[in-house]
Symmetry: C2
Subunit: 346 residues, 2 copies
């Protein structure tokens, strides 16, 4: 049982830094002792702690137990490396890196050292995801056969006032599909081949606004993933899960369907369809439906608790740098497949 | 107002021939006067009408007003041509032909003649589909952005005792996905580019058992379609619509999602999501949901009534030979794309 609160630094005082700070202070197992943000002291002021313009000053504070890195994507690797140099455990916001090369540099730096990094793919800490993962890995669906994933949203026009949202490096593949790829890899295993068609026809920006993807998993299962930021639809994780309460919620809707030889499962509703007598089941036999149970917990709080275990050395990071990097490799392979018009092995 | 019953011949006394006969006799606007089936007089006997071993004998009966062709797929074109030679209107079961070349022969024979053929893609006569088609074509969803289609079923093992179900020419693309392609072309317009990954890993037969497809529509919309005959799932049209009562029904489930710039629509539930103030709508604004109304009608009866209008010349066939042939071209392009590993224009 932990008795002392950990001293935590937050690097990056934007939306995600603020989110992490509120969870940490609310849970009581840690306290935010300082923030580093070069452009705004808003978060530090609201918490009543110092703000450092240079995050190296934060890292040199005595008694710092861990750091949350929620800076802009292109600073993730440099900042994480600086933390490792000082043996400070890191919760690193996704994406792990803004390029594969950069991510590989971080993975290489981790070899042979014991300071842990957890990558913040928060969905893996969602209670429905945790329940689904156990159920699938225990063989509840038999062998996985086919998987479907939907992320269909209309983002506001002013979202694209930020220039980087219109330019290469953003787009629905890297910003949105990356979450579904991580989720499905966690639930169904590695992805080894992809084909894709992308479009920038809705918004006309340099980046794609819509992408349709087919994937083959290492298990042999096939998947289709579709993602768009210009479709007026509530069918996306942010609006059907309770992970981020800044989104309006459409609780009756599913975004993912995973089917196997023995049954199928939806997420996040966890509706499980199965044949009461599996050996005799086929399409002319009615399937039974049940809701799998899931804990009533808060996703970001679960992630924080897991990070505490990672710091203590009682758990391996549920999302390692290598793991998160593989997801980025897959997203980049999808982009390449769409450009080349070729099914691409990864 | 039609006063006299039409005299109808049924060629092929199997499952579909029997289905058509029962609809025709129940509706009262026609009566089955003869059946042609070379191997069984079961249907004819049950109806109390003559069975012809040679369908040419049926076609030479005096006073025959129209024919339903429900023979094996590879006889569709020859039989339809024989009907046209005698100027007898035809309701031709899908697929229109067992190869593109054969279908083109039938399309060529139709040029300059007025005897009508309706192809039996029955889903277009489903009341929910009719309602969706009107709604979409009247601009209810704005411009279509992204489309998702699911057909995930576990067929019984004895389905594959019929050798042709295991061999090239069958498979989930030609047998099952063909229906979704027809449906989505009807709702969203032509498909012009496809990429695909297929697998025969679940059953190990010559034909694919699972296929994951991405498609680009002529409008620029993108789509993902996934289909499997070895996934234990109720998420397929046959089990969520009431079209075929020989399947157990899972009425709460949707198989298709069509999203546009103004809203989205599911089928067959017809759940319509939209922003109450469309101009201000985006992912942080709650969407309203309503159920679009659909007539409470029976799909095959609707198809029969439409065929009567086609015979009378008061309606163009809702599924023409050319139209049905395009669907087969797309399915063949999907197969080719999966084999070549290349995105394929059609």
């Amino acid at each position: 049982m932990r008795t002392a609160q950990l001293n935590i630094g937050i690097i990056g005082g934007g939306v995600m830094g603020t989110k992490h700070a509120s969870i940490i202070n609310a849970e009581g197992t840690g306290r935010v002792v300082a923030v580093a943000d070069p452009v705004s002291d808003r978060l530090a002021t609201s918490l009543g702690v110092p703000n450092h313009v240079d995050y190296q000053h934060l890292l040199s504070m005595p008694g710092l137990d861990a750091v949350v890195v929620a800076s802009p994507n292109d600073q993730h690797v440099t900042t994480a490396l600086a933390c490792l140099n000082r043996s400070i455990p890191v919760l690193l916001e996704k994406p792990v890196a803004s390029s594969i090369e950069e991510g590989q540099k971080l993975a290489a730096a981790l070899e042979g050292i014991s300071t842990p990094i957890l990558v913040g793919h928060h969905r893996r800490h969602n209670a429905a995801v945790t329940a689904a993962q156990s159920f699938i890995h225990d063989g509840g669906l038999g062998r996985i056969v086919a998987v479907n994933s939907l992320f269909l949203s209309r983002k506001p026009e002013d979202y694209f006032n930020q220039a980087w949202h219109r330019l290469k490096g953003a787009g629905v593949l890297l910003i949105n599909l990356v979450h579904d790829i991580d989720l499905l890899r966690y639930l169904c295993g590695d992805i080894t081949r992809v084909a894709a068609i992308t479009s920038s026809g809705s918004r006309g920006y340099e980046v794609e606004d819509t992408a349709a993807v087919t994937a083959e998993f290492a298990s042999g299962a096939l998947g289709t993933f579709i993602v768009s930021d210009s479709a007026a639809s509530p069918v996306n994780w942010d609006q059907v899960s309770a992970d981020d309460t800044s989104f309006p919620r459409h609780p009756g809707v599913d975004t993912h369907l995973i089917t196997g030889t023995k049954g199928s499962l939806t997420l996040p509703q966890l509706t499980h369809y199965y044949y009461p007598d599996d050996a005799k089941g086929h399409w002319k036999i009615p399937m039974a439906a049940q809701s799998l149970p899931a804990a009533e917990t808060e996703t970001y709080a679960n992630q924080w608790k897991h990070f505490l275990d990672v710091i203590d050395g009682t758990a391996e990071p549920i999302v390692s740098v290598t793991d998160a990097l593989r997801t980025i490799e897959i997203v980049e392979a999808i982009r390449a497949a769409a450009i080349d018009g070729k099914t691409t092995a990864i």
